[in-house]
């Protein structure tokens, strides 16, 4: 079996596994994004719906792998893109079918009762200064270290490595070459904080808010570690596997912690956000023109999604896409 094919199959299988378990990553009283009786997922009908969805998800995964096997030998780059696209569209379609089935046959109509606190904000609802500052200090410390050892930095050094561990991009010993990774790290950290600030000020209070804020705060650490490590590479030899391993460990730990939080007994006492199911297109995309919130807690998964009826949400989405495409755009120049 060719390594290119294996590399294409790994993300497909990961997406497949994620979608297999996705309907279970939700709050009590919600199933396939529809409002239901909290006991419904454990009922015979609830289990049957899940089994049927999982079969469909498995079929989409197999189909995408077969397509990858056919396309990757012809075009390694696009041979991955099309199967991933097909798989995601297929899985979203299957999820949508189940959302409709659960909503139409077993759904509950919860009254849309909303409340707001008139008391001063309590502690723990915002971003914790003492948690988010150390990553910035670490970036600054790395910059000082590089400045102090400037003469020891090679005139040209590797800055990017391929999947085979071999360097595939090089940088020069100039301001951007040496400090570029740290600057990018600072920008990424700031973006995380801007997102956290927006959540605090432009989303409703929910168990998801403190969970997401804590996740964003903690994620600054592996993110900073990766940029600091990358910037110190010309001076310090660090095994390449360490950064992905730390990021993976952090992400897995955070996911388990967040999952426990949103499904904990204290969280189950909280009524899931009383929204009409009809605001959720395909069970995943929130569209409510009457709601001024930009971000709303996800019905499936952990974190927040956007209110696609809000123009500001599209600006945020465009900004995220721009940042994501920035490296490719800069490379093209």
């Amino acid at each position: 079996m060719k390594p290119e094919f294996l590399l294409a199959v790994v993300p497909l299988l990961l997406i497949g596994v994620l979608f297999q378990y996705m309907p279970l990553i939700t709050r009590r009283g919600i199933y396939f994004s529809a409002s239901v009786d909290p006991e419904f997922p454990r009922s015979e009908d609830g289990r049957r719906v899940l089994r049927s969805y999982r079969w469909q998800a498995a079929l989409w995964t197999i189909l995408a792998c077969v397509l990858a096997a056919l396309l990757v030998p012809q075009s390694p780059q696009y041979g991955v893109t099309f199967p991933v696209l097909l798989m995601v569209v297929g899985l979203v379609y299957s999820y949508w079918l189940k959302f409709r089935e659960v909503h139409d046959r077993y759904g509950l109509r919860r009254p849309e009762v909303r409340e707001t606190s008139l008391s001063p904000a309590t502690e723990g609802e915002g971003i914790r200064f003492w948690v988010v500052v150390p990553p910035f200090l670490a970036l600054a410390a790395a910059a000082f270290y590089l400045h102090a050892h400037w003469d020891q930095i090679p005139a040209q050094f590797p800055m990017h490595w391929g999947i085979n561990g071999e360097p595939n991009r090089w940088a020069n010993r100039d301001f951007l070459g040496v400090y570029g990774a740290l600057l990018m790290g600072a920008v990424m950290n700031l973006l995380f904080l801007v997102f956290a600030w927006t959540l605090v000020h432009m989303s409703r209070k929910s168990i998801m808010l403190p969970v997401t804020l804590r996740m964003l705060e903690v994620l600054l650490y592996p993110l900073t570690l990766s940029f600091v490590t990358a910037s110190l590479m010309p001076l310090v030899r660090v095994p390449l596997w360490i950064v992905p391993a730390v990021i993976l460990a952090f992400s897995a730990g955070l996911f388990v912690w967040a999952y426990q939080k949103i499904t904990a007994p204290v969280a189950t006492g909280e009524t899931p956000e009383p929204q009409n199911d009809s605001y959720w297109r395909a069970g995943m995309f929130y569209y409510n023109p009457g709601d001024p919130a930009i971000f709303v807690p996800k019905r499936v998964g952990i974190g927040y999604t956007m209110n696609f009826a809000n123009k500001a949400a599209w600006f945020v989405l465009a900004g995220i896409l721009l940042i994501a495409l920035m490296p490719a755009l800069m490379k093209g120049k």
Partner: protein
């Protein structure tokens, strides 16, 4: 202390916000000097348009309950009770009768409504 509204209710959100806040103001639960959350905060939490909350705040400001300052939110004011005129009392009586009739038409017994009204009167006397 929370303000709660029902978006499914036939009563407009603006009216529910004004009524809910006024109950807290009249009852002294929102004391003079206390700050109300910003219009944006209330609108996002309740899932209603910013203008709906702003209008509700303006109505209460017009009644002398709160002070609105641009960029500084809303502050509860110390308010001397105005003298109610006979016309207002008549209007109140008519609205109360209409409300009682509406409840009776929905099946509430006279005895049940009497208990509710007595309880409300008791709360006012405390």
């Amino acid at each position: 202390m929370t303000l709660r509204i029902d978006l499914d209710s036939a009563v407009p959100a603006y009216r529910q916000i004004v009524d809910g806040l006024r109950i807290l103001l009249v009852g002294g639960k929102l004391a003079p000097g206390s700050e109300l959350p910003s219009v944006r905060r209330v609108a996002v939490d309740l899932g209603v348009h910013f203008n709906t909350v702003a209008e509700a705040y303006r109505t209460l400001a017009g009644e002398g309950w709160i002070d609105l300052r641009h960029g500084r939110g809303a502050t509860v004011l110390r308010r001397d009770a105005p003298t109610v005129n006979a016309e207002k009392v008549t209007e109140f009586r008519q609205r109360l009768r209409a409300l009682v009739a509406e409840m009776q038409s929905q099946g509430a017994s006279a005895a049940k409504l009497s208990v509710e009204l007595r309880q409300l009167a008791g709360e006012l006397e405390v």
